[in-house]
């Protein structure tokens, strides 16, 4: 499933994540997988809303995992390792005043996902892929 996400559209932030959650529940993914995937999807969605002009959020559902992909057109991230640090934020002041952009987005994604990959090109955009393994009764 795919969703397009508009930069600065805070009113709709979270809609894509909610749809993805619904789909995962329909499929019957493990409760914990759903929980983690929602956090990843929402933070990824929010990153596009805060930083980018526009982007696309996609979820690919497999029996053993969920892949979340967020691709945006925007400023990109100059220093990825810095961006991964908790509390590091490039969100402008007015957005932080709204309670967003506390610099927890990427660290939260990393915490919730089983694998994550981030590539970015300054002034072009960012691509994030995160995989959440589905806990099955076997593990």
């Amino acid at each position: 499933m795919e969703f397009s996400v508009q930069g600065m559209d805070f009113n709709r932030a979270g809609e894509a994540a909610a749809q993805i959650k619904k789909a995962l529940q329909l499929v019957g993914m493990h409760v914990d997988t759903v929980r983690r995937a929602v956090i990843v999807a929402y933070e990824a969605e929010l990153n596009i809303v805060i930083h980018a002009r526009q982007g696309r959020l996609a979820a690919y559902i497999h029996p053993d995992r969920v892949e979340i992909e967020a691709v945006d057109e925007g400023p990109g991230i100059p220093d990825i390792s810095q961006a991964m640090r908790e509390g590091y934020s490039t969100a402008p002041d007015h957005i932080r005043k709204m309670g967003f952009g506390a610099g927890m987005g990427l660290p939260n994604i990393k915490k919730s996902a089983s694998h994550m990959q981030l590539t970015s090109e300054v002034n072009v955009g960012t691509r994030l892929t995160a995989i959440i393994n589905n806990q099955t009764s076997g593990d």
Binding site: M1, G14, A17, A18, K21, K22, A23, Q25, L26, V27, G28, M29, V31, D32, V34, R35, V38, I39, Y42, E43, I61, H62, P63, N108, S112
Partner: protein, 436 residues
């Protein structure tokens, strides 16, 4: 035997199949088929939204009849705090309790009293900063059931603490046994309920048993109380009515009783859903406790309360001011934390799943996406499903057909019609010009 007890039912004679209710159900539990609403049992959380919305009064709540008092030797009424807000400004809780005794109860035990015991215990529980944050109230059974169906990942946030109704029933039962030497079987405990959700909580509790034996609808008993109020005024029974406990009847009351923490109060089932979604995304970890009530305004806005919510709210505020000034000493409550514990964790109710087999479920999901994309997306409800996506799910589950969509039906009719016209223009070769 149905798997789930439900207080909310359909009156088949009154239902016109108008589809008004299907869109307001928070768990998409209603469909209209063959001109009648059907409630999908596993999904219904007895919130009563459909009772409020139905223009034909075809949704009703099953509660116990007053005749049930005859089944027990000694009957105790448990008035919900919201009951006190249903009467005129001069009616005090004491008057209402006296009237209840005149109706035929042998004793009354105010749920407001149990609510104080629960508040004390909740305060202690939150002080230990249990994880995960925030703790979510267990008091509204409609919210708890909503979480079982739609937010199973959040169930571990629920405070593992019994509701004021259960705690009050247990305290009342123990008191009656001690004071009158009664056997358990002889005691009947009846909750005066503002909502169907509490009825279900009594009939199908999470633990093995409920301490409550039955539930009378507040609206049903309202008239009987009113009739007996006038002569109750002079022999007004002493009520304890602690303001902190009575306040539980309205939004914010729980939080007020707990105090001194980061607390959030949310009311109205659709607002509750929004807040739960926030918690699900990992937000609100700075909040200690979330008081969530399915009804707008809290229990004073319950579907079975006779009074208009806005009037009840004013009455409640006034009453709370009055009660705050005249504190009565309360009984000693048990101090053992286990006394207040829920009997066990609340299990999820996974009713949304398309198939038990995950591979098949994924294939079905793809089909749902595919069908949804072809439907008009108007969410008109004429098909009897709450929205286009829900119809697509129903089709894939085998409960509906594509042609239930009036637009799809029209498309097909148009195709068929143009085919008929085409056919009509064709002439069999044997028909010559002279044949008309």
């Amino acid at each position: 035997m149905p798997h789930y007890f439900h207080s909310v039912m359909l009156d088949r004679d009154k239902c016109k199949g108008c589809t008004n209710c299907i869109k307001h159900c928070p768990t998409e539990a209603i469909r209209v088929r063959e001109g009648q609403a059907i409630i999908i049992e596993e999904r219904c959380i007895d919130c009563g939204e459909c009772i409020r919305i139905c223009p034909n009064r075809a949704k009703l709540a099953i509660t116990d009849p007053l005749e049930k008092l005859a089944d027990y030797q000694y009957n105790i009424a448990l008035p919900a705090p919201s009951l006190y807000a249903q009467f005129g400004p001069d009616v005090l809780p004491g008057n209402i309790l006296s009237a209840l005794l005149k109706i035929g109860f042998d004793e009354v035990y105010e749920v407001a009293v149990g609510a104080v015991a629960v508040s004390n215990h909740l305060r202690r529980y939150i002080e230990h900063r249990p994880r995960p944050q925030p703790v979510i109230s267990s008091a509204c059974p409609a919210v708890v059931r909503l979480m079982q169906v739609r937010f199973p990942g959040l169930l571990e946030h629920i405070a593992p603490i019994e509701t004021p109704m259960e705690v009050s029933a247990r305290l009342a039962r123990e008191k009656a046994r001690q004071e009158h030497g009664l056997a358990d079987k002889a005691i009947g405990i009846f909750f005066i309920t503002p909502c169907p959700a509490k009825v279900t909580a009594v009939k199908q509790p999470f633990g093995k048993r409920s301490y409550v034996d039955g539930a009378f609808s507040m609206s049903d008993i309202y008239g009987a109380i009113l009739q007996r109020l006038s002569d109750a005024a002079d022999d007004s029974r002493n009520s304890l009515s602690p303001a902190l406990g009575v306040g539980w009847g309205k939004t914010g009351g729980e939080n007020h009783a707990i105090k001194e923490h980061a607390l959030l109060a949310v009311d109205g089932i659709h607002n509750v859903i929004n807040v739960l979604e926030e918690i699900e995304r990992g937000e609100l970890a700075d909040i200690d406790y979330v008081e969530a009530q399915a009804c707008t305004g809290g229990c004073i806005g319950g579907p079975l309360t006779p009074q208009n919510l806005f009037v009840a709210r004013v009455r409640m505020e006034k009453l709370l001011k009055k009660l705050a000034d005249c504190r009565q000493p309360l009984p000693d409550f048990p101090s053992d934390p286990d006394y207040y514990r829920l009997p066990g964790p609340i299990p999820p109710r996974p009713t949304l799943q398309l198939s038990d087999d995950i591979n098949q479920a994924i294939t079905m999901l793809e089909e749902v996406e595919h069908i949804t994309a072809q439907l008009p997306g108007l969410d008109c409800g004429s098909c009897g499903s709450p929205n286009c996506r829900a119809l697509a799910e129903d089709i894939v589950r085998g409960y509906a057909e594509n042609s239930y969509c009036v637009f799809k039906l029209r498309e097909r009719l148009q195709l068929l019609a143009s085919e008929i016209v085409d056919l009509a223009h064709k002439q069999p070769p044997a028909m010559g010009k002279h044949v008309k």
